[in-house]
Amino acid sequence: MSKFIAKRILSVVPVLLVVSIVIFSLVHLVPGDPAAAMLGDLATEQDIAALRTRMGLDQPLARQYFIWVGNLLRGDFGVSVVNNETVASMIISHIKPTISLAIYSLCIAACIAVPLGMIAAKNKGSAADHAVTAVSLAGISLPSFLLGLFLMLLFGVKLRLFPVSGYKGLEEGLGAHLKSLTLPAIALGFMNAALMMRMTRASMLEVLGSDYIKMARAKGVREFSLMAKHALKNTLVTLITVFGQSIIQALSGAAVVESMFAIPGLGQLMVNSIGRRDYYVIQTIVLLIAVFNVLVNMVVDILYGCVDPRVRVN
């Protein structure tokens, strides 16, 4: 197992290399630069040019890349153009809302989707099944920003059940925290829920149609135990994959939802940073998400091994 993990960790290196080169070149190919953004709307060209030189942006690109990577390896992520804050502290202050939002939306998704998907599969062709299928199709077809707008209009303005925007940190109380995140979490989680429901149903159907379920039934296993023991454990592999995908999706896809609901998370930081050409912040966030991506996939693979003995050997 440790060999497997070590191998996986090592395989992160080429991925990160590719990601860092791609994102560095992209970011530096984008027209405009942070110097102009730092000086504001009415700054003169002279002032901008002077700042650019000061920031080392007139150096050759390759040199800038190696400087950046060198600093990264030393644990120095650089400094943001906003208020001269270090990228590390900026990310730390922005990652909390994103994590909260991701966990919240995943909880909503998983708690609803998995049982519903199983019920639908168990009662294939029933009204419940059709309802679940319809909801999951709607979810897959409804972009989060549309759903977000709708939720905001309905629950925030018309019914006033939830605040339309404005993030409340955990330090302001769990209730307020969750309340401020409910609408965005639904907007973000609905598509994941739909996907999970669909996958749960599909893989459950596949499992239920399998020979070993027939065999289990033939040896007299009770229906509940059939679902809860035989079927669920075999469905877990699919569920773990979908769950892993959803975590990545929730973290990386939060940009639109976060800026819509004014949640100061990583996604919003990223979109804002693109606007102000905050090179180091953009690059670090993308790298961070890439690392996270790889880590989640690794954890998923390890969990596979726990669930399915066949994977353990390979």
Partner: protein, 330 residues
């Protein structure tokens, strides 16, 4: 004759499909006696597997299958039981062995666990007893090092081993009837023989009735006492092995027998073939179901459905021409 333990009477199984109800088996009746081996043969799609699974009511009755007729296990009609009562029959009194052990054993549980499960469901015994018994079963079906194998997963075993494990699962609770649905099809020839030997041995040792479903006539000839020949959801001929192999009455049975390659046949001689193919279930011909492919079929055969008639003490046949064709053919 030995004690009759299972009696199937006028069993019909219909499937709910996109095109409405589809009759997969139509009025099948037979008995199984204690200690006997009953072979059920026929082409793929003739309904032999459906028959065996209908006996255990394995098809989902909510949205897939509609059963009618009777399946009596010692005067108890299985079709009248609740699902709960049915669960007590399955695996305990009637067990089943499937064709593909790799897909039929749950991949995520150890083989020992799967045998124990059957034991713990039906017998009120402790985990430890169940474990010991499971190891015992593994030994019984001829698995070397049963203690070690106990903790292995199905994918870690060879095909023959897996099949033995499945037989162990099926026999764990000492059933009165074992249904073996093409138990050797997926195996190598040498392993096939070993598994068949095992089934025959178990049949003798445990004195249970075995329903052997297969399309391998050679296996039937070697192991079974009686044979049912099925065609398109009906039994077309029933009889002792000797009867069927030596004096087949139904033209279809004759065709089957003629198509067995024989050592004494001439090299280069073409094997016998039955003309045409099995029709789709939805398009069952009128009259005798075999008529379109039957070389002897006359006018009556195409309009009137024949009954399964008793020809002699042990043999029944479903053919209008049974009497005229009773002379042995080529």
């Amino acid at each position: 004759m030995a004690e009759k333990i299972l009696e199937v009477e006028n069993l019909c199984t219909q499937f709910k499909t996109e095109r409405g109800l589809l009759k997969a088996i139509d009025g099948v009746s037979f008995e199984v006696y204690r200690g006997e081996m009953l072979g059920i043969v026929g082409e793929s799609g003739c309904g032999k597997s459906v028959t065996s699974q209908s006996v255990l009511r394995l098809y989902n009755e909510k949205n897939l299958a509609v059963y009618s007729g009777q399946v009596r296990l010692e005067d108890q009609n299985l079709f009248e039981l609740s699902q709960k009562e049915m669960q007590k029959i399955r695996g305990a009194r009637i067990s089943m062995v499937f064709q593909d052990a790799l897909s039929s054993l749950n991949p995520v549980f150890t083989v020992g666990n799967q045998i124990m499960e059957a034991l713990m469901i039906h017998q009120n015994i402790s985990k430890k007893e169940a474990r010991d018994k499971a190891v015992e079963m593994l030994r019984l079906v001829g698995i070397p090092d049963p203690e070690g194998r106990f903790y292995q997963y199905p994918f870690e075993l060879s095909g023959g081993m897996r099949q033995r494990v499945m037989i162990a699962v099926a026999l764990a609770c000492g059933p009165e009837i074992l249904i073996a649905d093409e138990p050797t099809t997926a195996l190598d020839v040498t392993i096939q023989a070993q598994i068949m030997d095992l089934i025959v041995e178990m049949n003798r040792k445990l004195n249970m009735g075995v329903m052997l479903i297969t399309h391998d006539l050679a296996v039937v000839a070697e192991t079974c006492h009686r044979v049912l020949v099925m065609y398109l959801g009906q039994i077309v001929e029933e009889g002792l092995v000797e009867d069927i192999f030596d004096r087949p009455l139904h033209p279809y049975t004759k065709g089957l027998m003629a198509s067995i390659p024989r050592l004494d046949s001439q090299k280069g001689e073409k094997l016998h073939q039955i003309k045409g193919t099995v029709p789709v279930l939805g398009k069952i011909p009128e009259g005798c179901r075999f008529a379109p492919r039957c070389p002897y079929a006359g006018a009556e055969c195409r309009t009137k459905t024949p009954e399964l008639k008793k020809i002699n003490e042990s043999q029944k046949v479903r053919c209008h021409l049974a009497d005229t064709l009773s002379a042995p053919c080529a």
